[in-house]
């Protein structure tokens, strides 16, 4: 226990240490978080009138971000499935970064629902009268928190084992890994059901919402990981192979293709039928009764997603600059598609046919940016303390060097035999073999 607290304490101290780029990055994020806290305090005092939401458009930027981030969190599974189901070796070591990202994304998603509440001070009412299983929102509470715990357990366990130079017990994490795979799909499905179960909102009341959510998330999530893995690769000693990035590229390409196909199906059904239910889609894509605030958003998203998809299909996107461009386009494109393109238009026109447009206010934008900054801050810290553990630079002094016999410091930089590695996370690798990314002076670690 003391040892575990000592581990946390060392991680805590470590999160403040880095060169000027790290310090600047963390400083900027902290300032953004404080601006967000300030904006939220204003909202807490004055009410949600500080947002652009109205009785007509009663959900906006917060719920849009929430939806998007649930998808990002679920996308971590796209690293896990290839490794644990298809035994893909290249992604093996990277799973933990995907899961750390899932933790950060879920934290952001939970914060976004919390700031959307009119009475956050009554949050405990959820514990006292829980409308389960009737309300889909209660399902969402369960699956999101469950997913958070699952990922915290898997990452925490593997990282701590690596820190202690202990062989992780398969029983303690492999079942959870497989549970997390199913669970990841469930979080985004349940979130889609929040919307698609409402008969009064024809724009959402469509069976394609859940599959489309998953497809777009499985494109945007891995795209984000492609970018962060390159940052990890250039900023740390941790090794990320090109092959791993290219595997992610394939996943993104397939997911995005499915997403575009589903979009096409949706558009065909809406516009070919052209029933009264087309109103929201009409408003979104072409404007309705002279009101057209969302047109620039959705066409930008379509353009970004299309360009990204074309780039991904070109061999040129095997090179990082092109791949990164495609990833950035896709991350932003899918964000617009799920926010301004899915949450907001369902409210326009209102169920009584009134057209009231929505535009986020500055305060609401600051709160949102603050939550994003918090999530990135959290992810940065998690990665910052995880990398040295996995590379064997941060180990428990008491167990270092004696858990698996004498260490062979500084010898093998590359795995001699990758195929011999059993199923297991990167921590397992770090524990059962001498660290692969040793710095010559690794022994100087106290």
């Amino acid at each position: 226990m003391i040892r575990y607290l000592n581990f946390l304490w060392r991680c805590f101290r470590l999160s403040f240490v880095g060169d000027w780029r790290y310090t600047l990055w963390m400083f900027v994020l902290t300032v953004a978080v404080l601006f967000g806290v300030n904006a939220y305090c204003k909202q807490f005092v004055l009410g949600l009138a500080t947002t652009g939401m109205t009785d007509q458009v009663s959900w906006g930027l917060y719920i849009a971000n929430f939806t998007y981030l649930v998808g990002m969190a679920a996308a971590a599974v796209m690293l896990v499935i290839p490794v644990y189901v298809y035994h893909n070796r290249e992604l093996h070591d990277l799973v933990i970064f995907g899961e750390l990202f899932a933790v950060s994304a879920i934290m952001m998603a939970l914060l976004f629902v919390t700031v959307d509440l009119g009475r956050p001070d009554r949050f405990h009412h959820l514990l006292l009268r829980f409308n389960f299983p009737i309300s889909m929102l209660t399902w969402d509470v369960i699956v999101l928190n469950g997913y958070l715990l699952l990922n915290l357990h898997i990452c925490g366990y593997l990282i701590y084992c690596a820190y202690r130079r202990r062989q992780p017990s398969r029983l303690f994490y492999i079942p959870f890994v497989f549970l997390a795979i199913v669970w990841a799909i469930s979080i985004h499905t349940v979130t889609a059901f929040l919307y698609s179960g409402l008969g009064g909102r024809p724009f959402w009341n469509s069976a394609v919402i859940a599959p489309r959510f998953l497809a777009s998330a499985f494109a945007a999530g891995p795209a984000f990981l492609v970018l962060t893995l390159q940052v990890i690769r250039s900023a740390t000693r941790y090794e990320v192979t090109d092959k791993a990035l290219l595997t992610l590229r394939n996943i993104i390409t397939v997911a995005m293709t499915i997403n575009m196909f589903l979009l096409g199906s949706e558009l065909f059904t809406e516009f070919y039928t052209h029933s009264a239910h087309v109103a929201s889609a009409q408003y979104l894509w072409f404007g309705l009764n002279g009101r057209h605030a969302l047109i620039p958003w959705i066409w930008t998203a379509l353009a970004m997603n299309s360009v990204a998809l074309v780039l991904l299909y070109l061999p040129a996107s095997r090179r990082p600059p092109i791949l990164n461009t495609a990833c950035v386009l896709l991350i932003v494109g899918v964000w617009i598609e799920k926010g301004m393109g899915l949450i907001v238009p369902a409210f326009i026109p209102s169920p009584l046919g009134e057209i009231v447009e929505y535009e986020p206010t500055l305060n609401e934008t600051l709160v949102s940016l603050g939550i994003w900054a918090f999530g990135l801050l959290l992810y940065s810290i998690l990665v910052r303390v995880t990398v040295p553990v996995l590379t064997g630079e941060l180990v428990d002094e008491d167990t270092a060097g004696n858990a698996f016999g004498p260490e062979r410091p500084g010898v093998s930089v590359h795995e001699p035999n990758r195929d011999a590695v059993p199923l297991g996370g990167p921590a397992l690798r770090a524990a059962s073999n001498p660290p692969r990314h040793l710095s010559p002076n690794w022994e100087s670690v106290p």
Partner: protein, 349 residues
């Protein structure tokens, strides 16, 4: 060899020197100051009554004992007294056995004067700034029930307009209410007499019910509601028209503090044309039972399967201008239609 953003963990475990201690102290002090500045808007909370311990500990409506309910009512009384300097008469009025309320609205008679809207606001202590209204009247072109063709913001010197009919919409008190289904904390539910109510002290303000309602019947308190003290209706009940706090939902409750004691809803009493009918559908002799049996009745958005308890109907004679009853109504309001112009029954709004 590429440069590293951070160089090993050893720096994190470095011993504290005087210099690093000073640097860390300055950074920590700066951080705390910045946090305090960020939190500063919270100081304004000091004066707000919204966050009392008694309210925080209050149970869900259905779980409160008679004593606890009395304590809650007393708390509400003293809050109203402090805020509006009026001692209100706040009760918890329960439904009667053998009663199921329904509303029937005569589309042939409604002239779109919006008196129901304002009577409702006054009766139910709805916020005047920002303005909250439970009833929305749509001006519909003849020949359609497509709500998207309706005009919410018609502003005529006189109503009705001959080429339109008027469609007031409020909570339909559905027998299969989507709003109740989606509420994560059971803050809204259907009472035995068919009225869907909200416990304003239990709602967490997630607005899922607002997204689920196909009739746009629910309203959210985006800001602290405000009612001029001299316009407060002191006859209040827990589940209906007591003042609501910021951040919760509210909606039409068929004036349950009146109707559960045999009176009629405020919107009905305010209607100058008798277009609004209300009563117990379980009583076969009630006016609403007769209307449902004999008139041409319809419900809004039947296809969404909500089974509304709010019915619309047409008189046998349509359009309205040809209705012999229309002339006496207009007369009673002081507006005689021109004898050769059968259509508009005029009324200054």
């Amino acid at each position: 060899m590429t440069t590293r953003i951070w160089d090993g963990p050893s720096a994190g475990d470095a011993p504290t020197t005087r210099r690093s201690f000073l640097r860390n102290s300055v950074a920590a002090a700066g951080g705390i100051t910045a946090l305090a500045a960020a939190l500063s808007p919270l100081r304004e909370l000091a004066g707000q009554a919204d966050f009392s311990v008694a309210q925080f500990l209050q149970k869900h409506y259905k779980e409160m004992s008679a004593q606890e309910m009395e304590a809650a009512l007393e708390r509400i009384r003293s809050e109203v007294e402090r805020r509006y300097e009026i001692r209100p008469h706040v009760r918890d009025i329960r439904p009667q056995a053998g009663v199921e309320f329904v509303y029937a609205l005569n589309l042939s008679r409604c002239i779109g004067c919006r008196r129901c809207v304002y009577a409702c606001v006054e009766e139910n202590n709805q916020s005047r700034e920002p303005q909250i209204q439970y009833i929305r009247v749509l001006e519909m072109p003849r020949g359609t029930l497509d709500l998207e063709k309706g005009n919410h913001h018609y502003d005529r010197p006189t109503v009705p307009d001959a080429s339109h009919f008027y469609l007031p919409v409020q909570c339909h008190q559905c027998a299969n209410p989507p709003c109740v289904k989606v509420c994560p904390v059971e803050a809204t539910w259907q009472e035995p007499d068919g009225i869907t109510v909200i416990d304003y002290d239990w709602c967490i303000g997630c607005r899922y019910c607002e997204a689920a309602c196909p009739y746009w019947a629910r309203r959210f308190n985006f800001a602290e509601p405000s009612v001029p003290a001299d316009q407060i209706n002191p006859e209040m009940s827990y589940l209906s028209n007591r003042p609501r706090p910021k951040g919760v939902m509210e909606k039409c409750h068929f004036c349950l503090h009146r109707t559960r004691e045999g009176r009629l809803p405020a919107c009905l009493e305010a209607c100058p044309t008798g277009a609004r009918k209300f009563g117990n559908v379980l009583d076969p002799d009630s006016e609403v039972s007769q209307i449902l049996k004999t008139k041409r009745v319809l419900v809004l958005k039947e296809e969404v399967g909500t089974l509304p308890r709010f019915f619309y109907y047409f008189d046998e004679r349509y359009p309205r201008g040809l209705d012999p009853d229309a002339a006496p109504i207009a007369e009673s309001l002081g507006h005689l239609p021109a004898p050769d112009d059968p259509a508009p029954t005029e009324h200054h709004s």
